[in-house]
């Protein structure tokens, strides 16, 4: 009974031991890999390009016979081969392993700062000359300003990646209009008025259930998604993380500014009077969402594009629910704004080892930035990415058994957003969502630190992870520590590496401005 299994495993193990030697030498990547392009380029007209993109969600990987792949091939002469991470994996780690094992794709979407590893260690291809030549649509559609930021992120001033560009603010402060109507107050214009509104929300039972269960405003663990409370005081915040912006004429970490201290003082007051959900720092995403859905929260900060499902749920308990965008209430002596990060985050780059195929990789990329392909990019192939209902194309939800379609464009303009709202939001909610966007767009400002490369944090993990900031923010707000502790924070932050990081950021910013 045992013999066959034994024999098989023995064979495997013999093979294994033989390979031991090859591994010892296999860690270096000096060895030239056989040119992958050699077999494809000459015989066929089409070239296969390996594309790496993480977070593709559910679905199968399209093969060469896939209609989406074929359509793209027809148009560009490039067959794309999608490489993606398994769900739940750490994409950064996945890319690192690809580098370590000398197995890089032809074009990739870097994540977690991997682009800087590639640039620093000479693994990234400079695209300055290639882009205008092979990807004119990419080159022209992305604003010059964004290219400048990309240049500033490399030590030699070359363009090593195609940036993500998002020209509309994605986030907005929102408030329940129906609640305002019930308590008889207008949309607040100043921080004092905002506080009055919150007080009324707390005491006047705007959700009408007879219980004092209203949470006038709420946020999430680590101080995420309460950026509106910081924004009023001119603090650049991005999902609860202080950003870099101009303060008193110099670029500075928003976490250590006077503005931040004022904002924390205000938030602390709100917390003390239970105007800010006292469980803010314990709210996991789903709990926070349920509170909004259940008509418990009057004012919050989030993505208007995500409003659909929340609003549908609100309507169940409050048929006259209505959400509007709230202009940043004015704080005396401060210039409030909605933080906008628009450009500079890396989107696509080409490894040096895939130099031979760069032409084709860029042609593929260009296809997606060519506006005449918009319709195909949005809807893909009938039956796979969309179905036709009443003569209208409707995008299908991703499903495990259907192939994923590659999308490479990450350039969102006002027009793109309008189209997206039309396609993903039911007609009766479209105006509401558009209005919210209009309000937040009016308040939005691109921050000075937009596009900052994360190499500035090198060697200071605690500064990068904002751990110190989060600890002081939460403990001061919940009243465990006095506000004066904030000065101690500034001191500790500087000593823990903040000072060194600030210097690097200032050097970077000087480069951007030139």
């Amino acid at each position: 009974m045992m013999k066959p299994v034994f024999g098989k495993s023995a064979r495997i193990f013999v093979l294994a031991s033989l390979l031991v030697v090859s591994i010892l030498s296999g860690c270096s990547n000096n060895g030239e890999k056989p040119a992958a392009s050699a077999d494809g380029t000459d015989k066929n007209e089409s070239v296969t390009v390996k594309v790496f993109k993480s977070h593709m969600g559910v679905g199968t990987i399209p093969d060469n016979d896939n209609e989406h792949v074929k359509y793209v091939e027809e148009k560009t002469g490039v067959v794309y081969e999608l490489v993606t991470t398994a769900p739940g994996s750490e994409p950064t780690e996945f890319l690192n392993l690809m580098i370590a094992s000398d197995d890089l794709p032809d074009i990739l979407r870097p994540i977690g700062g991997i682009e800087q590893t590639l640039i620093k260690q000479g693994g990234a291809l400079a695209l300055d000359d290639l882009l205008p030549k092979y990807a004119p649509n990419v080159w022209e559609n992305i604003p010059e300003e964004a290219w400048d930021i990309v240049r500033s992120a490399s030590p030699d001033g070359h363009i090593y990646y195609v940036p993500k560009v998002f020209l509309v603010p994605e986030r907005a402060p929102m408030i329940r209009q129906d609640w305002l109507d019930k308590v008889g107050l207008p949309v607040p214009k100043t921080t004092e008025e905002y506080k009055e509104v919150l007080l009324a929300f707390r005491d006047k039972d705007p959700n009408g259930n007879g219980k004092a269960d209203e949470l006038p405003t709420s946020g999430r663990e680590f101080g995420k998604w309460m950026d509106h409370l910081f924004g009023m005081y001119g603090v650049a915040m991005w999902e609860g993380v202080p950003e870099w912006d101009s303060y008193e004429g110099e670029i500075q970490y928003a976490g250590v500014t006077k503005n931040m201290k004022a904002a924390i003082a205000y938030i602390r007051e709100l917390y003390e009077e239970k105007l800010l959900d006292n469980e803010t720092f314990l709210n996991k995403g789903d709990v926070w969402q349920a509170k909004i859905n259940n008509n418990l929260v009057g004012s919050w900060y989030h993505l208007p594009a995500n409003l659909r499902d929340r609003y549908t749920a609100m309507l169940k308990g409050a048929p006259d629910a209505y959400v509007v965008g709230m202009p940043m209430p004015k704080a005396e002596g401060y210039e409030g704004f909605v933080t906008q990060k628009s450009m500079g985050e890396p989107e696509w780059m080409i490894p040096t080892v895939a130099k031979d195929k760069a032409e084709y990789s860029l042609k593929l990329l260009d296809f997606f930035y060519d506006q005449s392909n918009d319709e195909f990019i949005r809807f893909g192939i009938e039956g796979q990415q969309h179905e036709v209902v009443n003569g209208k194309k409707v995008v299908l939800p991703p499903e495990d058994s259907r192939p994923i379609a590659l999308g490479m464009r990450n350039l969102t303009t006002k027009e793109d957003m309008d189209v997206r709202i039309k396609e993903t939001i039911p007609e009766d909610m479209q105006k509401m969502v558009q209005d919210v966007f209009a309000v937040s767009s009016a308040d939005a400002r691109r921050i000075a630190g937009d596009g900052l490369p994360n190499t500035v944090y090198e060697g200071f993990p605690d500064i990068q992870s904002h751990k110190l900031f989060q600890e002081y923010l939460t403990k001061i707000v919940i009243g465990e520590w006095p506000l004066e502790k904030f000065d101690e924070f500034i001191d500790r932050w500087n000593k823990a590496g903040g000072e060194a990081v600030t210097k690097r950021v200032q050097e970077w910013y000087a480069k951007v401005k030139n």
Partner: protein, 289 residues
């Protein structure tokens, strides 16, 4: 036999405590079950508590009709069965010599093995090793790198050590060689521990996730736990991009609950089946004086 009041009191409190504690362990699964049969709005609004709200089977029919998930299910069953068998074989073969005084190099080898339990290899060299062995994208990569669980092997060894060595001697007199003693005497005598360790291995293989993430690039070969993560991790920004217009009676929250149960229930059912090997005094004891 006379029962004292103390005994009875103890029995009462023992039952009360165990039943109460056991109930708390069942609740989370009941809750998941209720969520998986509820409407998306009810689930997202946390209106569900142990009983479905706005009952619907949409989530279940969605995942059960999903061929991709069944394929992963098949792969998981395959690696669980094959892996458990291989692992038991290797572990028993390793544990047996290590439990015998006659095996002179027992101590250094044991030390060498325990060192690997405490010192973990960094991820990149581990990855490169498996890759160089040509196991990328092969189901072997999910089995062989964990073929021997040191903890499990040591458990087996501990039980083997407890078997009286006089049994070895008498078997040897009967003409058994070492393999004969292992398979004819040791294995039948250690059914409870074999059942236990098989269960540990089976659960380990069933929950294979990390290795699949590292070594399997082809989604067709992903085991169930990897597929499950596709439903568990849906970043907010992605959800915004993937928003699709249309009315569905399920969403990520309800699908999440259904897939967790789908991936958990089969392996949970293994234990009650194995319990018959835990009957007191089953084998070993009758020989141990």
């Amino acid at each position: 036999m006379r029962k004292t009041t103390g005994d009875q009191l103890f029995q009462f409190f023992n039952y009360a405590f165990l039943i109460a504690a056991a109930a708390t362990m069942l609740l989370p699964l009941l809750q998941l079950l209720a969520v998986s049969f509820s409407s998306p709005v009810a689930a997202d609004s946390k209106m569900v508590f142990l009983f479905p709200v706005e009952f619907t089977t949409a989530s279940w029919s969605h995942i059960l009709q999903n061929t991709g998930l069944w394929k992963s299910f098949g792969i998981t069953v395959y690696i669980t069965v094959a892996g458990t068998f291989l692992s038991m074989l290797f572990s028993v073969l390793t544990a047996y010599p290590l439990s015998h005084q006659q095996f002179l190099i027992r101590k250094p080898i044991m030390l060498g093995i325990i060192i690997t339990m405490i010192f973990n290899a960094p991820m990149i060299p581990f990855f490169l090793t498996v890759r160089e062995l040509g196991m990328m994208n092969s189901l072997w990569s999910l089995i062989l790198p964990g073929a021997i669980g040191t903890f499990n092997m040591i458990i087996i060894r501990t039980f083997f050590s407890g078997i009286p060595k006089e049994l070895d001697d008498s078997a040897r007199i009967d003409g058994c060689n070492e393999a004969g003693i292992l398979f004819r005497i040791y294995l039948p005598l250690s059914k409870p521990v074999m059942a236990t360790v098989s269960l540990f291995y089976a659960v380990g293989y069933w929950n294979t996730f990390q290795r699949a993430v590292l070594f399997i690039r082809d989604p067709e070969k992903w085991p169930l736990q990897t597929k499950l993560r596709a439903y568990l991790t849906s970043p907010e920004e992605l959800a915004a991009v993937n928003l699709v217009l249309g009315d569905y009676d399920f969403n990520t929250t309800t699908l999440k609950a259904a897939t967790i149960l789908f991936a958990t229930i089969p392996i949970v059912l293994v234990y009650p089946y194995l319990q018959k090997y835990f009957v007191k005094g089953s084998m070993l004891g009758s020989l141990k004086e």
